[in-house]
Symmetry: C2
Subunit: 339 residues, 2 copies
């Protein structure tokens, strides 16, 4: 029913071997026969069969992305960078996604099926030792996106530095009672952002009290959601002594926090400053100050790392770590740097 290599071989008067060669850009085919085969293929509307091809070649032209929470806006932007870079490459992208982190093992299992893909990109999932083992013995090229492990290539933002930048900024702007909306304590990126923030603060001898560290109760997207920011901020506002600057570990939490602030009628940034993390496109439109991650570069870079790893299995493990940058908008006070 569908057109195979046999049909076009017959029509063009050559063997299937040479037909195959022209579709593989093998130079050992005369120009004349190439043309004739190509035109026969064109007429018949031939398309190579993907599965047959990968079976014979013992390799596929698809790669997998394992993304725990697909609708997370941060991932959406990273994915865009990735897709743009994949562009005209021959590779196709298989996306494995689950509602929450619990299912990552299951996704991995599916993604690692033999012959399924040439390599996998694992998006910010905390990895159990078991996961690490499985990945290693699968023998597949792996790159970690937005997370880190010394045995795999990875690409991410320096979250510790990002947290410290947020701290530096609010210190400089005169804050003395900082607080943080910290997402899920199990989230590695959130933890690092908090750690960097806290460390810098303590170096400057500014106290970050326990009551001023609000973890998310709402676990959707690992606490990186609007509701958790909203709830956390409400709780902060109920304190006897309100904070004067709050660092949200993601923009999306900051957005929720902003709503709580608005409802309570507090003046931002005069009474309370707010700074987020990520720099989603919406941040600009709500005037949110934030620590920017280069999301498109992360996506594009992940693809490049994976390609490199597919090319050569035994290159040393590589880590790309981007520096975040500070974006000042309306939720923080600008200040004069005193030298």
């Amino acid at each position: 029913m569908s057109i195979t290599i046999y049909d076009i071989a017959e029509k063009a008067g050559f063997s299937i071997a040479t037909v195959s060669r022209v579709f593989n850009d093998n130079p050992r085919v005369s120009e004349a026969t190439r043309t004739s085969i190509l035109s026969a293929a064109e007429e018949l509307g031939y398309q190579p069969h993907a599965s047959a091809r990968s079976l014979a070649r013992r390799q596929t032209e698809t790669i997998s992305a394992i993304i725990p929470m697909i609708s997370n806006y941060f991932f959406a932007e990273v994915l865009k960078g990735l897709q743009d870079r994949m562009g005209k490459s021959p590779y196709d992208l298989l996306v494995f996604s689950a509602p929450d982190l619990e299912d990552v093992e299951g996704l991995l299992f599916k993604a690692l099926h033999r012959g399924r893909s040439a390599g996998v990109m694992l998006f910010s999932a905390p990895m159990s030792e078991e996961t690490v083992q499985r990945l290693q013995k699968s023998g597949q090229p792996v790159v970690l996106v937005d997370s880190f492990h010394n045995r795999f290539d990875s690409i991410s933002t320096n979250n510790l530095v990002g947290g410290a930048m947020a701290a530096d900024f609010i210190i400089a702007s005169g804050a003395t009672r900082p607080a943080v909306l910290a997402a899920n304590p199990n989230s590695v990126p959130a933890r690092d952002r908090l750690a960097g923030f806290r460390k810098r603060l303590s170096e400057e001898r500014i106290e970050l009290t326990v009551e001023n560290i609000l973890y998310s109760k709402q676990q959707v997207f690992d606490g990186f959601n609007e509701q958790s920011g909203y709830d956390g901020m409400k709780e902060l506002l109920a304190h006897d002594q309100r904070p004067d600057a709050v660092f949200a570990t993601s923009d999306i939490q900051a957005l929720g926090a902003l709503k709580a602030l608005r409802e309570a009628g507090v003046d931002v940034p005069a009474e309370i400053q707010l700074i987020g993390f990520d720099d989603l496109s919406i941040a600009r439109y709500v005037g949110l100050s934030t620590i920017r991650q280069p999301m498109h570069e992360i996506g594009a870079g992940a693809f490049d790392l994976l390609m490199a790893r597919i090319e050569s299995r035994n290159t040393p493990v590589a880590h790309t770590i981007y520096a975040p940058s500070l974006i000042e908008r309306q939720t923080t006070r600008t200040f004069e740097l005193v030298l």
Copy 2:
């Protein structure tokens, strides 16, 4: 190197045929041999080879989603509904995406490769007659998401009704100088929303002037972006006679509009009301009134339609059209319904 059906056949002492049968849940295998084969497979860490399987079966367990603009938040939420529904189904999802609509033909070409997938979901792309032809003669199951064509199954929201709902609402709240932020005129959903809005208005003899229809100059995401809303609103604010209610054809445009409004210091909703479309999760946090589309249901429903079509090729074409709903928040005036 990797474990095949031959290895486990040898180890268990059966032929590859019976090994294959147990992995296909063929009931014509005795319980005893099933157990022994399964344990041999377990020990060896056997996994079926995806390509070999689809080649032999003449069908794959992957489906394709063609999404012109992957990082669009609306699509992200639809995709989540889809992935949740795919859940434990054996299917995997291939995602084809391009920066803009121009490349849809190219994506289609890749997605339609023989043996690549069992069916395709095409997300809101305007279809040329050529595309329609190609889809039809590919013989593949196709479902249209967020768009419509009478020859293919589809699932979408009734955009005309949605536009009319927005009109009804602002009419009831007393607006007399409506305006619309209309995205790209080539976008079918945007066009329908505008059409529904305009029609209802004219039925009520309320004038929608040409100057008050602002198409996007910024074409990213077909005009469904913050910048286009921002620019459009600025233009509206420069008019001698400002509008008193504006309908944005997407929430993301409304977000940009809100920024322009805030910068100009206009009182929302007292001076100008604003209503969006979609009900993205952020809408709730910026207090945006909007016309809601059931995004998760659209995603889940798309999967169901595709499965149904894969099962039986010659069922009549089915269209699922959801009714949108009105979500009142802070950017519109509430009013008493006078009977």
